[in-house]
């Protein structure tokens, strides 16, 4: 770990803006083989399956498959629900990240670990847990049903909830990390100048950590877009209502692998476009 840190430390005296150049100069010093070999292997390992998808794609029948109404329905639903899940994550997740980074309370470390649990939990388990909590017969869901007549499973709202459940930790982790790196003294200065703590958060902290929030939001959006297990378990699968692209891919794989490959390509293209489009603007270290 220490040798890896060195370029960063070397770049330390420079301002943040010159950091890229610093790393570039470090690269010219020569790459040790024990790092290069596994690094290139890792790259190949991550990219090869995607390459296979392109190689095996049924290019000839692709236009027909992609113009079907079901594909557009699924894609539309995927985009809308992933965006909604990201919005939910932002509204709830940023305050949570602030609480974790800026306040002291007993058991904070434990709470922080719990927050990231959906990251490592098998998504299907997450879906079952959501059913037990928010389902028609669930711990909270039965009251929602009895009092307001709201049932969440098998609805588009259910899809958004399932996606937010697995995607929000990405945002919280990213924002919390940025908050910890940001100097709290700016906030303190603002409060001593008469701003309320919330004003300080809104006017000082938020602009300061905006890139971190954006990066977290992109990660959360991408995770939500690819969500499968929790969605199919909690929200079910119905075309136009709860069938997102990953569900459509899985079910197409059962008897029409070519269709599954085509659908996967669409999902891949959308993800890459958004990630690439946002990366330059938001995700470069400030």
């Amino acid at each position: 770990m220490t040798p890896l840190d060195e370029p960063g430390v070397a770049a330390g005296p420079h301002t943040g803006r010159s950091r890229r150049r610093g790393v570039g100069a470090g690269g010219r010093r020569g790459v040790p083989l024990p790092l290069l070999l596994p690094g290139v292997l890792a790259l190949a390992f991550l990219l090869l399956p995607l390459l296979a998808l392109l190689i095996r794609a049924p290019w000839r029948s692709l236009p027909d498959q992609l113009t079907s109404a079901e594909v557009w329905q699924a894609l539309q639903l995927s985009l809308v629900s992933a965006t909604a899940a990201t919005a939910v994550s932002l509204v709830l997740g940023v305050p949570l990240a602030w609480l974790l980074a800026r306040t002291e309370f007993p058991g904070r470390g434990f709470v922080r670990a719990l927050v990231t649990l959906p990251l490592v939990l098998p998504p299907v388990v997450g879906g079952v847990a959501l059913l037990l909590a928010l389902g028609r017969n669930g711990v909270i869901g039965q009251w929602l049903d009895a009092w307001f007549g709201i049932t969440l499973p098998f609805t588009t709202t259910g899809v958004v909830i399932a996606e937010a459940f697995v995607a929000m930790p990405f945002l919280v982790i990213s924002v919390e990390g940025t908050l910890r790196a940001a100097d709290p003294r700016y906030e303190e200065a603002a409060t001593t100048l008469g701003a309320s703590r919330f004003t300080a958060f809104r006017r000082v902290t938020l602009p300061l950590i905006a890139p971190g929030i954006a990066a977290g939001a992109v990660l959360a959006w991408a995770r939500a877009l690819g969500e499968f297990g929790a969605t199919i378990t909690f929200a079910g699968n119905f075309p136009g209502r709860t069938q997102t692209m990953p569900l459509a891919v899985y079910l197409a794989l059962q008897n029409d692998p070519e269709a599954a490959i085509s659908l996967s390509l669409v999902l891949l293209a959308v993800s890459i476009t958004v990630l690439a489009g946002l990366r330059d603007r938001w995700m470069t270290p400030s």
């Binding site: 990251l119 490592v120 059913l131 037990l132 910890r180 079910g236 079910l251 059962q254």
Partner: protein, 264 residues
């Protein structure tokens, strides 16, 4: 000191990510270990449809008693994905599928030794929440509005069979969800999220008193045959043949019909 604390804090997301990666890796190695362990000369590996889980587990124990020193290891799952694993090179001795179509995925690739034999048949049944509060008594009752019904997706055997039964009786049914397999459909009823599901008789039986079964006459026209086959590259062909013989024997058929399967 402060600096190192600061760095550990900044490393936190990284640590989280690498922990996740580690867990993912260990999960991978665990699953790739299991075929390796089946290499020991006395283990028969059986890939079987999820609906056979209860009865085949019983038969496996019986087989191990009858053949001391021989172990039976099962891989239960959706017939489609099992077939995909087999054609993908998974080391298996026996394949028992929930439909001739899924067995054909394996036989078409010349992966089976000999012709698959139908060893049981399975009939559909309606599963409702215990007590059947909506008084479902026929397939037609499921089409009533306000009733939350789940079906298997048409791409999986139970969904194809349900669609066949609905088409035959000219019924149109809009479910709240098309589930990816029969257990998924049943779970939604067990958790009382759905009011009813069309599943196999054997699943209703295996669920015990968590669901209530309602038979419907149209199911007779949509019965699924279950074929079993010895695989061509079976590492333990002799023991595998013995296991298939047990499944097809009177003793095996007894266990299977107790689980709700029909005789072929």
């Amino acid at each position: 000191m402060t600096r190192s604390v600061c760095r550990t804090r900044r490393m936190w997301p990284l640590a989280g990510a690498s922990a996740a990666a580690l867990i993912a890796l260990s999960a991978c190695s665990a699953s790739s270990d299991s075929p390796a362990s089946s290499k020991s000369s006395d283990t028969v590996t059986v890939f079987a449809a999820a609906s056979l889980k209860e009865s085949f587990t019983t038969l496996g124990k019986k087989f191990e008693q009858d053949h001391p020193g021989t172990k039976v290891s099962f891989n239960f799952g959706g017939s489609d994905s099992l077939a995909a694993s087999i054609t993908g090179g998974a080391p298996a001795d026996v394949f028992a599928a929930a439909s001739p179509r899924t067995m054909a995925l394996v036989t078409d690739k010349q992966e089976a030794a000999g012709t698959p034999a139908t060893f049981v048949r399975n009939q559909l049944e309606i599963a409702t929440v215990p007590g059947n509060p909506h008084k479902v008594s026929s397939l037609k009752d499921l089409t009533e509005s306000g009733l939350k019904v789940v079906l298997c997706d048409r791409t999986v055997p139970c969904g194809a069979a349900a669609q066949k039964a609905l088409d035959a009786s000219r019924l149109r049914l809009t479910p709240v969800s098309y589930e990816q397999d029969v257990k998924g459909a049943l779970t939604k009823v067990e958790l009382k999220e759905a009011d009813a599901a069309v599943v196999y008789k054997t699943d209703v039986k295996a669920a015990g008193d968590k669901v209530e079964g309602v038979e419907f006459p149209e199911s007779a026209g949509a019965i699924n045959d279950y074929p079993i086959a010895l695989l061509k590259n079976a590492p333990h062909a002799e023991a595998a043949k013995a296991f298939i013989a047990l499944v097809r024997s009177a003793e095996g058929q007894q266990v299977l019909s107790e689980a709700g399967f029909l005789k072929p």
